[in-house]
């Protein structure tokens, strides 16, 4: 009978703003981590996966709601957890063995016992003979092994992993994944549950017993289901690809209710999008044209997931471009298939000046922020508007980081479409100079490709 180790009740995270508004990173969420399962948390970047992980470990306190560790509030308990980090987070000035012994030292273990446990865990993760090396002497894969050893040496009850394989190359990641699975299945490690944050759909389906998909703005659970495929899982099998496709659909249709899972009951949460501005994906006009051309070569329509894997792209890199094309009306996405619209086809096939014209029209029609900037410039007598003005508008709705990225994207699009220009020294939007489209002097002119 699996017991609940960590239980989160209506936890949410928001940042208070000086105005009445606040930025909601995570909407009220219920979630529990039970013994005996590998739980994968999937979501696009910016959906608050890492924030949720940090609340569940007790590292950061939720803005509202409560996290329980074995039915005790986590702040009062002494949760036995550890984290494997994406960047490894090893101390570069300590040797491999010192890195691994540091958590034991913090727990007040005597030196002899530290050494014994340290050496034994090095043996488990296959790092014999490297104890006196410094992390910078090791390859990425070896470094993450040290990361695993440091996390496992305290025999955590729950092992948290924050995108542990995404900084590694494909082969190394695959290798480490299967070794981790082996340790888990053979119960070499006393860990009772594993919580994995990832943006890699295949990785989640490969490892997890249960998958939770987060939506963004604010982070909210979109679907939560069990994976019952037997191990070892075959990436090529019908069930596997169906599941991957299903998750992919959930991720690409943020506005809608998730479709039904093939053969499995799905618990869904309502989408709490209240956004006023749409969030501009961080994509460049050149990238959008490139994607459209690729799709037209494939008869105007293709499965995005297949496209990504054919191109050797991480799906996270491709998604913003797809989103951008969709916002501009150059593309429609249905069930994970992207299809070029007539406007999109015309855009992709035009020469550069015409392309800019089409982009201009599409941008003004579809993107609220750009429309507002253009109007503001037109109405002001001196035809300039400070960036701060829009910064404050966006600030109400997005975090500082997202706001800055929104402005950056808007500037990049606006400049490309010659909707406006941006004076980087004075931080002001200004009217574009109509006569000379290529000003050589401007050091910022080379932002687009």
């Amino acid at each position: 009978m699996p017991e609940t180790i960590i239980r989160a009740e209506r936890v949410e995270k928001y940042y208070a703003q000086p105005s009445a508004n606040r930025i909601q990173v995570i909407a009220p969420t219920d979630l529990s981590v039970c013994s005996g399962e590998i739980l994968a948390l999937l979501g696009p970047s910016g959906s608050g996966k890492s924030t949720l992980l940090r609340m569940l470990t007790g590292l950061s306190a939720p803005s509202a709601g409560q996290v329980y560790w074995h039915d005790k509030p986590i702040a009062l308990a002494d949760p036995n957890v550890s984290i494997v980090f994406q960047s490894f987070a090893l101390f570069p000035w300590l040797t491999v063995l010192e890195n691994i012994e540091a958590p034991l030292q913090a727990r007040g273990m005597n030196a002899a016992e530290q050494r014994k446990r340290g050496l034994s865990i090095l043996d488990t993760v296959g790092l014999d003979g490297f104890q006196t090396a410094y992390p910078k002497e090791l390859s990425g894969g070896m470094r993450q092994r040290v990361g695993f050893a440091r996390a496992l040496v305290v025999e955590p009850e729950v092992l948290f992993m924050d995108e542990p394989f995404s900084a590694l190359d494909v082969l190394t990641a695959e290798n480490l994944r299967s070794e981790l699975l082996e340790l888990w299945q053979k119960k070499t490690i006393p860990t009772k549950a594993i919580f994995l944050v990832t943006h890699n759909i295949e990785e989640a389906v490969l490892l997890a017993d249960r998958i939770i998909v987060l939506g963004r703005n604010p982070g909210v659970i979109r679907t939560d289901f069990k994976v019952t495929l037997p191990h070892p899982r075959d990436r090529k099998s019908e069930e596997f690809t169906q599941l991957v496709d299903y998750i992919y659909k959930v991720l690409t249709q943020p506005g809608e209710r998730p479709p039904a899972l093939p053969g499995v009951s799905v618990k869904t949460a309502p989408d709490a999008r209240i956004a006023h501005y749409q969030e501009l994906p961080h994509a460049r006009p050149g990238g959008i044209a490139g994607l459209l051309e690729l799709l037209i070569d494939r008869h105007g329509k293709d499965d995005i997931y297949r496209l990504a894997s054919d191109l050797g792209f991480e799906i996270d890199d491709l998604l913003p471009i797809v989103d951008a094309a969709q916002i501009l009306g150059f593309l429609t996405v249905t069930e994970g298939d992207a299809e070029v619209t007539t406007a999109g086809a015309e855009y992709a096939n035009s020469e550069i000046l015409r392309q800019k014209e089409l982009f201009r029209k599409a941008a003004v029609d579809n993107v609220l922020l750009l429309r507002q900037i253009v109007r503001a410039i037109e109405t002001k007598t001196d035809h300039t508007v400070p960036e701060e003005f829009f910064h404050d508008l966006l600030d109400e709705q997005f975090t500082e980081e997202v706001t800055l990225r929104q402005l950056e994207t808007a500037i990049s699009w606006g400049r490309y479409a010659e909707l406006f220009d941006f004076d980087a020294a004075r931080r002001r939007f200004i009217q574009p100079e109509k006569t000379s489209p290529d000003s050589v002097d401007d050091p910022d002119a080379e932002i687009e490709e």
Binding site: L76, F85, S87, P92, W93, R107, G108, K136, P443
Partner: protein, 593 residues
């Protein structure tokens, strides 16, 4: 095979092996002897210092100009700098730590640091000295401590800034790794914060100690009111030598000082830089390393290792176990008695403490203002005139420094063979404290018919041009080759080349150099405008001159007003000019790879 032959080769092999072993065994013994000798020397040094300090205060100490007195003087000065440095690092770490982790007081602590940094060392002199002498009226210790504290005020601020900003920039995941593994504050400090800050601290230490040599001259010999303080040391030796125009003594003093500075560089800074290399926060091992034989000696000594094994290691273990147990108890207590409301009581006490502190500050400030009341209108006008003169002088010397260092720096930076030749020379030239050269410069100038007016600008130049030069060289070296090739390809004229490539390329480096140089020039102005040579006091109109004269006459109000004026000017130019240029450099002129 011939059995004899095998046997023979076997014994021979053993013999050579044994010999190698003897060598390998004896080498650490030699090292141990070295370490023991160093220990004895330290013991003797402590005895000497104690004898000097515990002695009665000597107001009219005669500084001997015989070269045989130099080693002892140099030793006394070194001890002063060393103690001031130790004090600085302890203060810098504590202050930086508090500022970084107390969000409530962070902003105010950093602002205070900013202002303190702008106050010239000499303005601290009268209050510090009087306080110290009042504390130890019967011992030499008072004046000695005063000098040390003055050196400290010249060295500490940049180190505190460095430590604070290092802590602030620790990558988030490293902090989380420490948190999730329940590091105690001690383990966090030792394994995360200090190592992460180490490189910045080492480089700032080098700068601070250079600054301490600069202020040494003023701290070891000065008049205050009717009192004339002299401490035996290199600074007072040089100053006395200049006073009586003893060329031979000046030369001896300068040579000793340069020798010491070079020795410190070789025996302390180089090993430290080599050691701090291991704290570089990098993922890939870089190919360039600074090496140091002395560091090798320390890391391979048997005595040190065994001392560590028997003292620090068990102690460390005991402390960590104690901290872990304490934490466990706290958690258990927290679980047994969950806190009801998040401490309203503590918040009330905090407000009370803050209110009391605020009141104390207000009262003190009011008293200080009352002190200023007797200052007449004419004196105010005089002060403002002085401020204007010093302001012009500082900025003129900055422009002058930039005018020669930019072309020379760019020339050196864009010709690697030249750089290899010129950089070490420039480094030696830069390491000589300008104040030590000042008497020589003044003597030469007076012989040529000039005076302290030109001399003061020369001193500021001597003290500040190097910062600009080194930064310009670094900037010129950082201009990417492909940009240079583009300039050649499009046949840029010389003017175009400078306007479009070189000046924008070195701009961020130039700004950094100018900011540091401007701070240095303000500090130097205090020393530059007032000098006693050959029994005569040479002065030129300026704020520094007025502060100096006020110190000699014991006029607190003028010192206070002069200091406020200087701080005001420095902080305002920083805010209005340098910070803006900095931002421009960061946003517009950054060359990204």
């Amino acid at each position: 095979m011939n059995p004899l032959h095998t046997n023979f080769s076997y014994t021979r092999g053993r013999e050579t092996l044994a010999r190698a072993l003897v060598l390998r065994r004896t080498w650490p013994v030699v090292l141990d002897l070295c370490v023991a000798a160093i220990g004895l020397a330290i013991f003797y040094a402590i005895v000497r210092i104690a004898m000097l300090w515990a002695g009665p205060p000597s107001e009219q100490m005669v500084v001997s100009l015989s070269p045989s007195a130099l080693p002892m003087y140099a030793f006394y000065s070194l001890v002063r700098i060393f103690l001031a440095y130790v004090l600085s690092i302890v203060f810098a770490v504590s202050y930086g730590y508090l500022a970084a982790y107390n969000t409530r007081v962070e902003a105010i602590m950093i602002a205070v640091l900013d202002i303190l940094q702008s106050i010239p060392v000499l303005s601290f002199l009268p209050p510090v000295m009087l306080a110290m002498i009042a504390l130890f009226p019967t011992r030499h210790l008072g004046v000695e401590l005063g000098a040390i504290i003055l050196l400290f005020t010249g060295a500490v601020w940049n180190m505190a800034f460095s430590f604070y900003s290092s802590i602030k920039s620790i990558p988030r995941e490293l902090c989380e790794a420490a948190d999730v593994n329940r590091f105690s504050w001690l383990q966090r400090l030792v394994q995360l914060e200090l190592p992460y800050a180490a490189i910045g601290l080492v480089w700032n230490s080098i700068m601070s100690v250079a600054g301490a040599w600069f202020t040494l001259m003023a701290c070891e010999m000065f008049h205050f009111g009717s009192k004339d303080f002299r401490l035996p040391g290199l600074g007072s030796y040089l100053q006395t030598a200049a006073d009586v125009k003893d060329g031979k003594a000046i030369a001896c003093g300068l040579i000793t000082m340069i020798a010491i500075i070079v020795a410190i560089d070789q025996f302390i800074w180089r090993p430290l830089i080599a050691w701090s290399d291991k704290f570089k926060f990098e993922q890939v091992e870089s190919s360039q390393h600074v090496t140091s034989p002395l560091l090798h000696l320390f890391t391979h000594s048997n005595v040190l290792a065994s001392i560590a094994r028997h003292t620090t290691e068990p102690l460390n273990e005991a402390i960590y176990i104690n901290l872990a147990n304490r934490r466990r108890k706290q958690v258990a207590q927290l679980a047994a008695h969950p806190p009801t409301s998040p401490g309203t009581g503590s918040r009330v006490t905090m407000w009370i403490v803050a209110a009391l502190l605020g009141a104390a500050v207000l009262i003190a400030a009011q008293h200080a203002l009352e002190l200023v009341r007797p200052v007449t209108g004419a004196q105010y006008v005089e002060l403002l005139k002085g401020a204007g003169a010093t302001f012009l002088r500082v900025n003129f010397s900055l422009l002058l420094a930039a005018a020669w260092t930019i072309p020379v720096g760019v020339a050196i930076g864009s010709h690697p063979p030249l750089a290899r030749l010129a950089q070490p020379l420039a480094q030696i030239a830069a390491s000589v404290p300008a104040t030590a050269l000042f008497p020589v410069v003044l003597l030469v100038l007076i012989r040529l018919g000039g005076g302290i007016g030109i001399g003061s600008i020369a001193l500021m130049l001597l003290g500040t041009q190097w910062y600009i030069l080194f930064n310009v060289i670094a900037g010129a070296m950082a201009i990417p080759t492909d940009l240079k090739e583009v300039a050649t390809l499009f046949r840029f004229s010389n003017v175009e080349r400078w306007r479009k490539l070189i000046l924008p390329g070195i701009f961020p480096f130039l700004v950094t150099g100018m900011v540091t140089a401007s701070g240095g020039a303000w500090n130097a102005s205090i020393f530059a405008e007032y000098f006693t040579l050959n029994g005569k006091t040479l002065t030129t109109l300026g704020l520094g001159e007025q502060i100096n004269a006020a110190t000699a006459e014991g006029q607190f109000p003028i010192i206070l007003l002069g200091t406020i004026l200087i701080s005001l000017m420095v902080v305002t130019t920083n805010r209005l000019l340098w910070r803006r240029l900095y931002r421009l450099a960061e946003s517009r002129y950054r060359l990204e790879g």
